[in-house]
């Protein structure tokens, strides 16, 4: 949304990239479990092509890193830079949510 180190300049991949990073925030995961995790916490379905387009971009930016392959599935984890970028982005979103709550107080949650 804001910084170049974050996922803000990823265009249409910005939102799935954020979802992937949030998913990896709870630990290393391989492709399929990232998809399942995202579906369970956000209800959003991400297709395999989108997922790997996002993984390649995040990896190219050094926000995530691949681990050794296990049974033909490769787990990924957040790098320290990735965690920092995620935190920065979450702070922005937090401010956004706060401002929105004040303006739309009837929305619960």
């Amino acid at each position: 949304m804001t910084t170049d180190e974050g996922t803000g300049d990823l265009g249409r991949f910005a939102e799935p990239a954020l979802l992937v990073m949030v998913s990896l925030a709870s630990g290393t995961k391989h492709g399929y479990s990232i998809m399942a995790d995202i579906a369970s916490f956000s209800g959003t379905r991400i297709g395999p092509g989108t997922l790997y387009a996002v993984l390649a971009r995040l990896e190219a930016r050094g926000l995530i890193e691949p681990l050794d392959e296990v049974e033909r599935r490769r787990p990924y984890r957040l790098t320290p830079q990735g965690a920092a970028a995620l935190d920065a982005q979450l702070r922005v979103i937090g401010r956004l949510v706060q401002a929105a709550r004040v303006r739309r107080p009837h929305v619960a949650g």
Binding site: G49, R72, R73
Partner: protein, 285 residues
């Protein structure tokens, strides 16, 4: 249902080589595990196009060199193929840029032809909802008499949406013979729905001629008696065509304009069911 491995292999093969070398194996197992729907196949295709449009995203050797799999491939030049071959499948066939473009072009042409064929079929498909060819609920006989009281006396009721004359047969016969009569409740089999299209060349048959109580086509002068039967004068070879009529339990007269009975062939005045008193008179004044 598990996706067929060859289909998945084909989908992964659409990605560029460098990309596949790095992600092919894991993408393959992800898709196998995921049981993809059509959206996922589309997503894979879009992802492959994206990967080809943005080659800078694909891991470059410098970046990929840190990976054990890639390091192995550096050691042995044939390893990249084998890396994907670990999946226990035949080696990947490479897709060149030219092949890719060619296939995309082919797919585009196929899609275009499909649209063209679909459009032609859609154009030729009969549109029977509404308009001529559909069914029309005209109303009960009482409704019709209320709209046009002379219908009880035998005057044709012109119903424009279906381009027809509704005829009260027993009253119309009396009217044509010059008798004044009122039959306000004819039965279903005493009604006729005459298509106002002249069977000669398709002109619209005008309203009944007052003086002679017959129909005369303005185009070429074909004449029909009040029941639509061909009279002696005029070029048409048969009487006016008729639509099928049904009367529902609620008394509503319904005309099905897709069911057409051709008018009787011209066989001279004697063979007419109903004999017009002046069959050979041309003019209608």
């Amino acid at each position: 249902m598990l996706p067929s491995p060859s289909l998945v292999r084909f989908a992964v093969r659409v990605y560029p080589n460098s990309w596949r070398r790095r992600y092919g194996v894991e993408l393959h197992s992800l898709v196998m595990e995921h049981r993809p729907g059509w959206r996922d196949w589309l997503d894979l295709l879009v992802g492959a196009i994206d990967a080809r449009l943005h080659p800078e995203v694909a891991p470059r050797p410098a970046l990929a060199a840190i990976l054990p799999a890639y390091r192995a491939s550096e050691a042995r030049p044939s390893a990249p193929v084998q890396a994907y071959g670990i999946v226990n499948e035949p080696p990947i066939r490479e897709i060149s840029r030219r092949t890719f473009m060619r296939r995309m072009l082919g797919a585009g042409v196929a899609l275009l032809s499909l649209e063209f064929v679909g459009g032609v079929l859609a154009f030729m498909w009969p549109q029977i909802r509404g308009g001529l060819g559909g069914t029309f609920a005209i109303g009960t006989v009482a409704d019709i008499v209320a709209r046009q009281p002379s219908f009880a006396a035998g005057w044709p009721y012109a119903y424009a949406p279906a381009r027809l004359f509704l005829i009260n047969v027993p009253a119309a016969e009396e009217l044509a013979l010059g008798h004044e009569i009122s039959i306000p409740n004819p039965a279903a089999n005493q009604l006729l729905a005459l298509w106002r299209k002249c069977p000669h060349l398709g002109c619209q048959v005008p309203e009944l001629c007052d003086a002679l109580k017959r129909f005369t086509c303005r185009c070429h002068g074909s004449t029909y008696n009040i029941l639509g039967e061909k009279l002696g004068y005029g070029p048409a070879d048969r009487g006016m065509d008729r639509f099928a009529i049904t009367i529902g339990p609620d008394g509503v007269v319904t005309v099905d304009t897709s069911k057409i009975t051709a008018g009787a062939l011209k066989r001279g005045p004697d063979s007419l069911v109903f004999t017009d008193p002046n069959p050979w008179m041309a003019e209608c004044r």
